[in-house]
Symmetry: C2
Subunit: 308 residues, 2 copies
């Protein structure tokens, strides 16, 4: 069947007002699964249908990181799968910039203080102005950070898989050259997808090369950083600090040293809180339904071979 | 004596490399006090000369807030006094935006947590995207915030003494209309000078009108907020919270409720830490020496009658 003007789309596992409106605003109509040519899924992999009708040519998943969908063996090559990568980009970028600012200006230990420790803290307050921030894995989320960091007077070095120049970055390198960045950038935002290749990308070697004032922000996945090596670096103060929205292990267990190190800030995977999901995802769905109806390339297609 | 091409400038109370270079880069030459036509002062009022030579037509003070200089009775009408207002604007603006972001996203209580309280925190995470931020007293520091808030997708309402439209603000009101803003804006940054008129500008009435999700940032002076009324509002959770770089009393005494309220974040007057003083002030001094040499209007003149 060729692309229709009003694609038949199933929304599951149950109805959602914002997503339903997004589908209709994009030009689609809501149908039961057995009549669908596309599926918009707002639940997790556990409730996903065991078998999709052959007529389903496209599935929109609700999250940006999709390891759980790969692990559940749901993604097949018989149709197009799209993630929500990009939908939450502005929200995650906001959190990443907040975490780096908080780190660089020492807000973590200031927020924990219960007395006026001005003289002690003052010498550790730095600025993003004039700093060089490397965004490791500069996809949609990283790109959304660039105008923010630029507004604060920082310069961005982007690392991407391909090395194709990222607009707004002072320089883009391909991921094989990440090692050149550790000693060169002032601070780091880890924003790469979790794959076999990116596991423990930030290891003891990388940490050893960083400047003693460098802050590392992780808004991607905990597995991208060697936690034990990070804790050693934080204890030895060989780097400035780490502000982590994701951890390994996650959830971070009570009593873990990262909870009490003065140069660590932990936010419990809140860069993209679920309370913001419907409206941001609905806009992404609307845009993709519009593209699907017009037979155009969809946003955030999953690359099944590469695993993200 | 008419303006010279190479003005004779005294730098006191002692030499400073960055400021000395700033004076020379601006076209001035360093001289002892009794030969000076202008003074650049990097110390406090306590070390300031009891009497200035009549030939001194201009004094550059080292701070943006100058109440202590007024209180010490140093400022006279016999010459031009300039403050450092504006010199530190980008740095203070960075801190103000950090504090508002931290408030809106709940970073204060997250930074203080010692266990993974995701479900509890998640419902309280909001965003600056789409928010309306009122900057009360939108001078040089407020203006430096506007491109930052705009980059995050927030809209700025500016309140100034004159009401003259501030570039980049969606709307500017004069200070007599501040009361209209309390119920209207989503969040507030207090950035007005400390004067008799601005004392306790944010009082119980103002707080009562604010939205229950409103965050207040104060990077100006503690006296602009009625602390007791604020503590009551924070305890009753009638506003979202307060992130304060300045307090009344200041320093905030140990055991004060603001140290332990979950919806309060205190930074001990670090928006413009003194470690950043020389380079930022030096640039301001350079610009003013250049203007002085050319007989142009100086940056940040003190209005002795208005008291800032």
């Amino acid at each position: 069947m060729p692309p229709t003007r009003v694609p038949a789309i199933h929304l599951g596992p149950d109805h959602d007002l914002a997503l339903g409106r997004g589908i209709e605003a994009g030009g689609g109509r809501l149908v039961p699964l057995d009549e669908a040519e596309a599926v918009v899924w707002k639940g997790g992999p556990d409730t996903f249908p065991d078998r999709l009708p052959d007529a389903v040519r496209w599935v929109q998943l609700p999250s940006a990181g999709i390891e759980r969908w790969f692990a559940a063996g749901i993604l097949d090559g018989g149709r197009i799968w799209t993630s929500a990568a990009g939908a939450y980009a502005p929200r995650v970028a906001e959190h990443a910039v907040l975490l780096l600012l908080a780190g660089v200006r020492g807000l973590g230990e200031q927020a924990r203080a219960t007395s006026w420790r001005k003289a002690e803290f003052e010498t550790r307050v730095a600025t993003l102005h004039g700093a060089t921030v490397a965004i490791i894995g500069c996809g949609g989320i990283g790109r959304a950070m660039i105008p923010l960091f630029t507004a604060f007077g920082a310069e961005v070095l982007a690392s991407t898989r391909s090395g194709t120049p990222v607009p707004g970055a002072a320089e883009t390198v391909d991921a094989s050259r990440n090692a050149e960045l550790w000693a060169r950038a002032d601070h780091f935002v880890i924003a790469a997808p979790a794959t076999a290749e990116t596991a423990q990308l930030v290891d003891a070697d990388a940490l050893a090369q960083m400047k003693p004032t460098a802050w590392i922000v992780n808004i991607a996945r905990g597995s991208l950083i060697d936690t034990d090596a990070l804790v050693r670096a934080l204890r030895a103060e060989t780097i400035g600090g780490a502000a982590l929205d994701v951890t390994d292990p996650e959830p971070l267990p009570e009593g873990h040293p990262l909870w009490s190190l003065p140069n660590a800030v932990i936010t419990p995977h809140l860069a993209n809180p679920s309370n913001g999901l419907p409206s941001l995802l609905a806009e992404h769905v609307r845009a993709n339904v519009e593209r699907f109806a017009a037979g155009e390339t969809l946003l955030s297609p999953v690359d099944i071979e590469r695993g993200y």
